[in-house]
């Protein structure tokens, strides 16, 4: 079978599988976030953390919940790493340096999972399972909670209330992430992913060194790593490691897990706003970008010219032979179009244009389909912007889902749009202008620039994947990327929740023939165009000097 055909077949299989679970999962999530009853285990949790799961919250209250919970998470994770050296079950690893501990704490709480450490050489069982794996669940649940709050903003009227953060957080974890993760982990174990608490085994020697195997609760962490669009691997090689991702089938399943919740949330959105078609329009925009990016990636990786490439059947450098070009392309597009950042190949070794696709994917704000929760709210904010411009063209004050997009709404949307470009471009420019950061580059020219651009793009967009090559474990990068991850995660949430609050207060405008219909292909096209043009224009100069300069050189 030709690699191209195998790629298309894998894409089709994936689409079919996602289509199959779209309805049940989307509806399940809508029920989860709308129902009145609490499970017994949930009540225990509320009691334990002292939260009232019934009171409705205005947007500032909801935001306070998000920020307080996340701040505690950062602090806890930081301290846990700082005292690792004295904790039992740490496989003898020492405590983590302050800057790296901060970076890792920020990284896992912000759902980024950027890793400036080597998992198997730095983190013991306690930190991996008790700290990092916990954040894999709850940071994802926070993203979903904020998305649901925004959806409620569209669904509710005459109220500033957006639901209850604690209840959304706990339910998202208990009723969605945990059960699906368990199923996911079982499937992964069946595929050959390891799950144990074994220590480090010396398995042999080779000239110049010894080889070790680490055991660990890999499958369980692997499932939520993908499902929660986290991406932080148990091992440094991440999903390229055979213990994390042993076969082409496990590879496809992991991509499926990555895309599962972000796509299904559009159904949840449609359900909750009372119009499934609105959800489908958003889904269509996400899916179109995803499919086109995947096909482009396969094309550029397969079509790359050069003797070595032709012998290998494409740009095989940095890719696992068991996944091949299409399996790697599929994975790398899914991981950069969501906020996952897991890798099964080295993005740095992609062709120039391929690396550009990875970069652009993240720069789109990770909205196609994006991170769990963050993809949906990112897409809805873009929809607000698209509606604003297009709505004027039908001769009315713009409105989306019956909510008027006025000064307040567009202010919040505009602020949202500003955050990540400011972080990405600002930090990259600082790193390029200063002397020290440049020493971390392992390449010169356009590729070297891409390494740094990629690092901040990945951090500020909460992706977490790395353009391997950059030595990111320096004080400068640990600190600046840490800041980029935190601001890139929580500043947008401030604006999303403020937007949600301002929407929920409104009296809905009834739909008439004069209303811009936002469930039509025309609008979907417009939404895609708005996303591509606004992000494309923002990053074009930077992309031109990085991947484009490299990709167009030959």
């Amino acid at each position: 079978m030709s690699p191209a055909l195998s790629g298309v077949l894998q894409l089709l299989a994936l689409a079919a599988a996602l289509g199959l679970v779209y309805r049940p999962l989307g509806d399940h999530m809508a029920r989860t976030y709308s129902c009145d009853r609490h499970l017994r285990v949930e009540r225990w949790i509320y009691k334990a953390i002292g939260a009232d799961p019934t009171g409705e919250m205005s947007w500032p209250a909801y935001l306070r919940g998000v920020l307080a919970f996340s701040a505690v998470g950062v602090l806890f994770l930081y301290l846990l790493q700082r005292v690792q050296g004295v904790l039992p079950g740490s496989l003898g690893f020492s405590s983590i340096d302050p800057d790296q501990a901060f970076n890792t704490a920020a990284s896992f709480v912000s759902n980024t999972n950027w890793q400036s450490y080597y998992g198997e050489q730095a983190m013991g069982h306690v930190v991996q399972t008790g700290g990092l794996a916990v954040q894999n669940f709850v940071s994802a649940a926070v993203g979903m909670a904020v998305a649901v709050a925004l959806v409620r903003g569209f669904a509710r009227a005459h109220t500033g209330e957006l639901g209850n953060f604690w209840s959304d957080l706990v339910r998202g974890t208990v009723r969605v992430l945990l059960p699906v993760s368990v199923i996911g982990a079982i499937v992964l174990v069946a595929c050959g992913v390891i799950q144990n608490f074994a220590g480090i085994h010396g398995v042999g020697q080779f000239p110049g060194g010894t080889q070790q195997w680490n055991g660990g609760a890999v499958a369980s962490q692997e499932a939520v790593k993908h499902l929660g669009t986290n991406g932080g691997g148990y091992f440094n090689a991440n999903s390229a490691h055979p213990f994390e991702n042993p076969t082409p089938l496990s590879n496809l399943f992991e991509v499926f897990l990555i895309l599962l919740i972000p796509f299904a949330l559009t159904r949840t959105f449609g359900r909750m706003v009372g119009s499934l078609r609105q959800g489908y329009a958003i889904l269509a925009a996400m899916a179109t970008i995803w499919v086109v990016f995947t096909l482009l990636m396969m094309w550029t990786e397969l079509a790359h010219r050069g003797t070595a490439f032709e012998i290998a059947g494409g740009a095989m450098e940095g890719k696992e032979t068991r996944f091949g070009i299409s399996g790697s392309a599929l994975f790398s597009v899914a991981t950069t179009l969501t906020s996952t950042g897991a890798v099964n190949s080295f993005h740095s070794s992609n062709t120039g244009l391929g690396g550009g696709i990875n970069l652009l994917g993240m720069q789109l704000g990770e909205t196609a389909p994006g991170g769990v929760g963050s993809g949906l709210y990112g897409m809805l904010v873009m929809a607000v912007v698209a509606v604003f411009i297009a709505g004027l063209m039908v001769g009315r004050t713009p409105e989306y889902l019956g909510r008027k997009i006025g000064t307040r709404q567009i202010t919040f949307a505009a602020c949202y749009l500003l955050v990540t470009p400011a972080l990405v471009l600002g930090f990259t420019a600082a790193a390029m202008a200063l002397d020290t950061p440049g020493h971390s580059m392992t390449n010169s020219g356009a590729h070297g620039f891409s390494e740094i651009l990629y690092a901040y793009t990945s951090g500020a967009n909460n992706n977490g994947s790395a353009f391997a090559g950059l030595d990111a474990d320096t004080q400068w990068f640990n600190t600046t990327i840490g800041i980029a991850m935190l601001l890139g995660r929580f500043l947008p949430m401030v604006f999303v929740l403020a937007l949600a609050g301002s929407l929920a207060e409104q009296t809905p405008v009834p739909e008439t023939a004069g209303t811009l219909r936002t469930h039509k292909p025309l609008f979907t096209g417009l939404l895609i165009g708005t996303i591509l043009i606004i992000t494309g224009l923002t990053y074009f100069p930077a992309l031109a000097l990085g991947p484009l300069a490299e990709g167009l050189a030959s």
Binding site: G395, T407, T538, A549, A553
Partner: protein
């Protein structure tokens, strides 16, 4: 100025039995245009004349209100300083020149838009010459300057006087020349009490004497507000304009970031750029097209209303007009012609149709009301009965219509013919011992139920007095209304007919006119309640009104258009005044509101879409030396880096001037569904905005490359 007749003499008292509407009383019969909004005028000479104003607007304190253009101004200053430091650099000077031109072009657009109002303001000022008021004091009269009047003062105006201020007539009746405000030369009647008591300062009393109670402080009169409005002095940014400005400002910040951070990237690549080039890139990227034209679009939108003789008291109201989803329309004068017309002669048993028509015509010759005239005309058209003149019947006694008798007729010798309200005619016949046939009642009921008004025709001759039959008077729906309502429906606007008629009549007319709903036997309270109900459902409501009792509803409506013939209370309550007092104009106002928003959206889309081509021009020009592969992005094949950058800047400046007429005239707007409108505008301004600069920049580059030293 349009030429409808805003105010005729006071209405005849309705002279038929049965329901009458709340009769706005100024049926102009002016069915204006179709739904499409036409453009204003544009004359290239205006650009030249506006240059001094445009230069004056370079004041940074003025420029800062438009964030996008302020950035261009700062950029222009910056490149000027750089060019001064290196005077031999032709490229620096060329860029500097075109950046300044960009700024000036933006101001030019605004100045042209404002200039159009200035001429009108001058005319108004002439009307506002200092008047001397004859103020009534306890002891008699004193002459004071009009500017010293207080609210509540009573002043006397006689033939030849100019009314010194806005007020209400408290005594007397006079004909007034309001042409200074409305442009309409026919005089109008102003009288104390009722709905036509308002007089406006600056208008001229032509006959008789009135006493006016001043209701507005000098300096805040209607004419003062008009001057402010048309000059744009009172212009405040509207909500949507502010929102759009925020979006444009944030895009400007994004591009500022993209350009400022580019320098370290470029330096690393060994292709550091001059500040001039970076400024040029920035100006090309930020949405200058819409930034430059935004305020001109707003001013022109208000101006389009002024050209149609509508004064919007706030730009907010114009925007709201575009959002209106419910239109309340008065039946009389808006949906139907002001008067009922004869549509049919229905004879009773034993009488012939021709006989009836003849009698009806005869008896209506002395009836000068429009209803009476329509009977004469119907008889003539349907039965070929020539209109007879009074002389040709020999000695005859003509009985004109009065509100008391509610009948008209003629006595020729022994033959007496009468036509009038059913009650009056029945009584007249019975008085003369005549008989009213059995089927008369059935006939009149049938007509009433169909929404018409029955008039009885009776005759007394040798055969005694008897009823001949019934004339069916019908409310005549104006031509083309059904289509317009259809159009409104397609735009998602629901029309509600407001009438004082009984529900039966109202329903019949509503069906015939094709309105979506009706409010029968409407009182002012009903109207207000209806508006509140609609608004509670999230709808925006527009209505017209003229009476004092309309004031609460006018104030409650999102768009309240007061008729200029109306009372001061109504004019105060509404947020627009129609100087022509033409209620049909509401439909046009909605169109103008929509057109305003569409123009903004279209030019924003165009402006953003333009950037793609500019990147393809400038990025290869900047970096193809460092990374030769990037020359593949030079898909336009521009001749040299300098020429490429300059072409983009020149295009960016020229497109502003090229679009000034569009900004002033507004994007073509035809009422249709949102989907079709979006498809069309996206095609023209979205795709057009993508493609046009590729062509434009290429052409400019071709021209530039013929110059020595470039290319």
């Amino acid at each position: 100025m349009s030429t409808s007749t805003p105010a005729t003499l006071p209405d005849e008292v309705p002279h038929q039995d049965g329901p009458t509407g709340p009769a706005p009383g100024h049926a102009s019969g002016h069915a204006s245009g179709n739904g499409a909004v036409g453009g204003g005028f544009f004359d290239p000479g205006m650009l030249v004349r506006a240059v001094p104003d445009a230069l004056r607007k370079l004041d940074p304190r003025v420029m800062v209100t438009s964030p996008v253009m302020f950035v261009v101004l700062v950029g222009s200053v910056l490149t000027t300083v750089l060019a001064l430091r290196e005077p031999g650099d032709w490229f620096g000077w060329a860029i500097t020149t075109w950046l300044w031109l960009t700024t000036v072009f933006a101001n030019l657009a605004e100045a042209v838009a404002e200039g159009r109002g200035k001429a009108q303001a001058d005319t108004l000022r002439r009307a506002k010459t200092d008047t001397v008021a004859r103020r009534i004091t306890g002891a008699g009269e004193e002459r004071v300057p009009g500017t010293e009047l207080r609210v509540g003062d009573l002043v006397v105006c006689e033939a030849g006087d100019t009314v010194p201020g806005d007020g209400d007539v408290t005594e007397g009746v006079a004909s007034v020349d309001e042409s200074a405000i409305t442009g309409e030369s026919a005089p109008v009647i102003r009288e104390s009490g009722g709905d036509r008591s308002a007089v406006t300062g600056g208008t001229k009393v032509l006959s008789d004497r009135i006493v006016v109670r001043i209701t507005t402080k000098p300096g805040e009169t209607f004419i003062d507000r008009m001057i402010n409005l048309v000059e744009g002095a009172a212009r405040q940014k509207t909500p949507n304009e502010i929102a759009l400005n925020i979006l444009l400002a944030s895009l400007t910040i994004v591009f500022l970031l993209a350009v400022v951070t580019l320098q370290p990237f470029a330096t690393y690549a060994g292709a550091g750029q001059s500040m001039t080039v970076l400024t040029a890139l920035l100006v090309c990227l930020i949405p200058t097209t819409i930034g430059a034209l935004l305020s001109a679009i707003g001013i022109a939108g208000m101006d389009r209303l002024v050209q149609r003789n509508v004064l919007a008291m706030s730009g907010r109201a114009v925007e709201a007009a575009g959002d209106v989803s419910t239109l309340l329309l008065d039946k009389t004068g808006t949906i139907t012609l002001g008067n009922r017309q004869a549509s049919e002669f229905v004879p009773v048993k034993g009488a012939t149709r021709a006989e009836l028509a003849d009698a009806a015509q005869l008896s209506s010759l002395a009836d000068e009301t429009p209803e009476g005239r329509s009977i004469v005309v119907l008889a003539q058209e349907a039965y070929g009965l020539r209109e007879r003149r009074r002389g040709e019947l020999g000695p005859a006694e003509w009985i004109g219509f009065t509100a008391q008798t509610r009948m008209s007729g003629v006595d020729v010798g022994r033959r007496r013919v009468r036509k009038g309200a059913a009650g009056s005619v029945t009584a007249w016949v019975r008085e003369r011992g005549g008989r009213v046939p059995e089927d008369t009642r059935a006939l009149t009921d049938r007509i009433s139920q169909a929404g018409g008004t029955p008039l009885l025709v009776a005759v007394e001759d040798g055969g005694g007095a008897r009823v001949l039959g019934v004339v069916h008077l019908k409310d005549v729906v104006k031509a083309g209304m059904r289509e317009r309502f259809e159009e409104l429906r397609r735009m998602g606007i629901r029309t509600v007919m407001i009438t004082g008629d009984n529900p039966l009549t109202a329903k019949a007319i509503a069906e015939e006119a094709g309105v979506d709903d009706f409010l029968a036997e409407a009182t002012p309270e009903d109207k207000l309640a209806l508006i509140k109900r609609e608004q509670a459902g999230g709808k925006l409501v527009a209505m017209t009104g003229d009476g004092t009792n309309d004031a609460p509803a006018l104030a409650q409506a999102d768009v309240g258009v007061a008729m200029n013939t109306g009372t001061s209370a109504a004019k105060e309550a509404g947020n627009m005044v129609d100087l022509d007092s033409d209620p049909t104009k509401l439909i046009e106002i909605v169109g103008i509101g929509k057109q305003l928003l569409i123009t903004r959206g279209a030019l924003t889309t165009f402006s953003i879409a333009n950037d793609v081509a500019k990147y393809f021009a400038i990025i290869p020009a900047m970096f193809a030396v460092a990374y030769p592969g990037l020359d593949k992005l030079n898909i336009m094949g521009l001749s040299s880096p300098e020429s490429a950058i300059l072409s983009a800047v020149v295009f960016n400046a020229l497109i502003i001037i090229a679009l000034v007429p569009l900004a002033l005239r507004g994007v073509r707007y035809t009422p249709t569904s949102a989907d079709r409108m979006l498809r069309r505008n996206l095609g023209i301004y979205g795709l057009g905005g993508l493609v046009a600069p590729f062509i434009g920049i290429k052409i400019i580059d071709l021209l530039l490359s013929t110059l020595p030293g470039i290319g």
